[in-house]
């Protein structure tokens, strides 16, 4: 397997290099043509040259807005059973109040797609894993539902499926007895699209989320992160998260 990955790497590299060019060309207006030519082909494997991530600007994110949550719930059909203690939540809005100053920030909390994810460390079967491109996932085929990863996650990002589900989306399998969390919409990433939460935030919310390749120096996300300060939640744990926050 590792061999085939290696042979795929040049492709990934090409994709990134061309991505840079595409950015430049798109200014000139040839956007759709180039983008079509660049889309990852179905049979192309992901590459460790990419690292997908999110940048969330808490100054833009508004208290009371939950466009991202709605977007996620619709995309993955997370409609619950009206049992809030056991229903799954892949992304939720947090209100954070400073005890001393009273300052309130509002932000979405979700799987932080760590580089060194505690859930992956503790998973006995290796079902929790990190894709080469940085997305942390659960392989539900090998998850035994021990919930050790839920215990280990510092962000409370994981949910255990407590009952039988129907009406799953074809691109988002989920089922009773296994653990799940934000997939960063891998089905969209593999298709060169943006995660549902980001799309909803841009369309119905306040445009507080940016998605992109942290490894691509020319991407908007990498540029913004280079130019202005951003933070990781629980950075004391040293997990190098793929989701970062601004103005926190």
């Amino acid at each position: 397997m590792s061999l085939s990955c290696k042979s795929k790497q040049p492709d990934g590299q090409r994709r990134r290099l061309l991505g840079g060019i595409a950015g430049a060309v798109s200014l000139g207006g040839g956007f759709s043509l180039i983008e079509l030519a660049l889309a990852k082909s179905e049979d192309e494997a992901i590459s460790s040259l990419n690292r997908w991530g999110l940048l969330i600007d808490t100054a833009k994110c508004a208290s009371g807005c939950d466009a991202c949550v709605k977007g996620c719930n619709t995309e993955h059909n997370l409609e619950g059973f009206d049992r809030p203690e056991t229903d799954a939540q892949w992304i939720r809005k947090l209100e954070v109040t400073d005890r001393q100053t009273g300052h309130v920030s509002s932000l979405p909390m979700l799987c932080q797609h760590c580089e060194d994810p505690p859930c992956v460390d503790v998973c006995p079967t290796g079902a929790s894993f990190r894709r080469q491109d940085g997305v942390v996932l659960v392989d539900k085929h090998t998850c035994i539902g021990c919930r050790y990863c839920v215990m280990a996650c510092p962000y409370k990002a994981r949910s255990f499926v407590h009952e039988s589900l129907y009406n799953q989306k074809s691109y988002s399998p989920r089922g009773k007895g296994t653990v799940e969390s934000c997939t960063l919409c891998v089905h969209r990433i593999d298709d060169d699209r943006t995660p549902a939460c980001v799309e909803s935030c841009n369309r119905d919310g306040n445009g507080a989320m940016v998605f992109g390749d942290l490894n691509d120096a020319d991407s908007q996300i990498a540029k913004t992160m280079r130019d202005s300060a951003s933070r990781q939640v629980r950075e004391d744990l040293g997990l190098n998260t793929g989701v970062r926050y601004q103005n926190l």
Binding site: K93, M109, T125, G145, H162, R234
Partner: protein, 396 residues
């Protein structure tokens, strides 16, 4: 040597009634697990805040007890104390049965118990759970081998070697079990190396107490009294372990109190955690710690068979309380995402999680304990695990 051991040949009506009772309880536990699997875990008290509930408490209880139950055999073959020897086979048998039952409870509480084979074929060697799969199955094999050296006359001279090996193995096993919690850096209550020694001593307490209770039970049916001398020694050992655990728990909480970041969780467990605070002070510290220690060390009655029985029961209660407070209480306290800030959300951030054990969980846990005892008292009928009079007398 084997002539000094015998099978249990009780025709007591009480024996069979207990066998039937235990079998019914074990079956009820299995039924409850099946119900939980078919319905999904929403029918339990567990939720996305408290993901390990009562079955985990019982499973860890049984696994710790298993390692501790080997005490008598270890003292006999590792430290060469004669008075323990007649009971060494029973001690090893009890260890295996408790572990098997603990593993069954653990597996039946999985989200996908039928995927046990996946757990056996896919390993992530960074995971403490994965190590534990080896430690647990290995323990069963090691103790089985140990038992074999005790049973097979030609192998008797290997008993002490096997005993040392099993002795080492059980410490690693208990450390592994403690590490399940000790390595959870994200959780305020677990993030401590002290978890390991606390679990080790807890296993010594549990194993000794359960051995006392079980040998007293079996003695009724086999006209084979547990010698007062042995009982008294076990009781003092138990009391020493209890005092040691009280000490470790004190150190644990004091070091936690020293670090400001742990003040929240300490306040929760020690002062305002409601049910958890109550179980901690009343169950773990007072009834399970102070009272049995005082009984053994300061009263003559605490040295009588009746007194020792009570001490053992209290020790089990205390250990159970400690596990409940550690496992459930530790999860009920909210994760700290932003130190120094207050958080709120639709996902119970920043609030103490609710958990009340449900009937199926209780049945599964109790069923596991019943299964362990059932296996022991049936196995003693089949093979000569019980001490024979002559040996017991000559040893004293």
């Amino acid at each position: 040597m084997s002539s000094h051991f015998k099978t249990l040949q009780s025709k007591h009506i009480g024996y069979w009634m207990i066998v039937i009772l235990l079998a019914v309880m074990a079956l009820a536990g299995y039924g409850a697990a099946h119900y939980m699997e078919v319905q999904g875990h929403w029918v339990t008290g567990m939720n996305n805040q408290v993901v390990w509930g009562l079955p985990h408490v019982f499973a860890i209880f049984l696994i710790l007890a298993a390692s501790g139950a080997l005490n008598v055999a270890s003292i006999s073959s590792v430290f060469g104390r004669k008075v323990y020897k007649p009971w060494s086979r029973l001690s090893a048998l009890l260890a295996v049965c408790l572990l098997v039952a603990g593993l069954i409870v653990l597996v039946l509480d999985l989200g996908r118990p039928e995927r046990l084979i996946v757990a056996m074929t896919h390993y992530n060697f960074k995971s403490i759970f994965a190590w534990n799969i080896f430690l647990y199955t290995g323990f069963i094999l090691v103790v089985a081998g140990y038992l074999w050296t005790m049973f097979e006359r030609g192998m008797n001279h290997h008993t002490s070697k096997a005993g040392v090996f099993a002795f080492a193995w059980r410490f690693v096993l208990t450390s592994g079990t403690g590490s399940i919690f000790g390595f959870l850096v994200a959780r305020q209550f677990y993030d401590a190396a002290m978890m390991v020694p606390m679990f080790i001593v807890l296993s010594l307490i549990l194993g000794t107490a359960i051995f006392i209770l079980l040998s007293l039970l079996l003695a009724q049916w086999s006209q084979q009294p547990v010698l007062p001398e042995l009982l008294e020694r076990l009781a003092s050992l138990l009391a020493i372990f209890i005092v040691l655990e009280l000490f470790l728990v004190t150190v644990f909480h004091f070091t936690n109190l020293y670090a400001t970041e742990h003040h929240g969780i300490e306040r929760f467990i020690l002062i305002d955690g409601g049910i958890y605070t109550f179980i901690f002070w009343v169950g773990q510290i007072f009834l399970g710690g102070v009272v049995p220690a005082v009984l053994v060390f300061l009263s003559a009655w605490g040295q009588s068979p009746q007194g020792i029985k009570l001490v053992a029961i209290l020790a089990v209660l205390g250990a159970m309380s400690q596990l409940y407070v550690t496992i459930i209480g530790g999860q009920a306290y909210p994760l700290v995402l932003f130190p120094g800030k207050e958080v709120s959300s639709t996902f119970y951030d920043g609030v103490v999680a609710q958990y009340s054990p449900s009937m199926p969980e209780l049945l599964l846990g109790v069923g596991g304990v019943a299964l362990a005892v059932l296996l022991v008292i049936l196995a003693t009928r089949i093979l000569p695990f019980m001490p024979d009079d002559r040996v017991s007398r000559s040893a004293s």
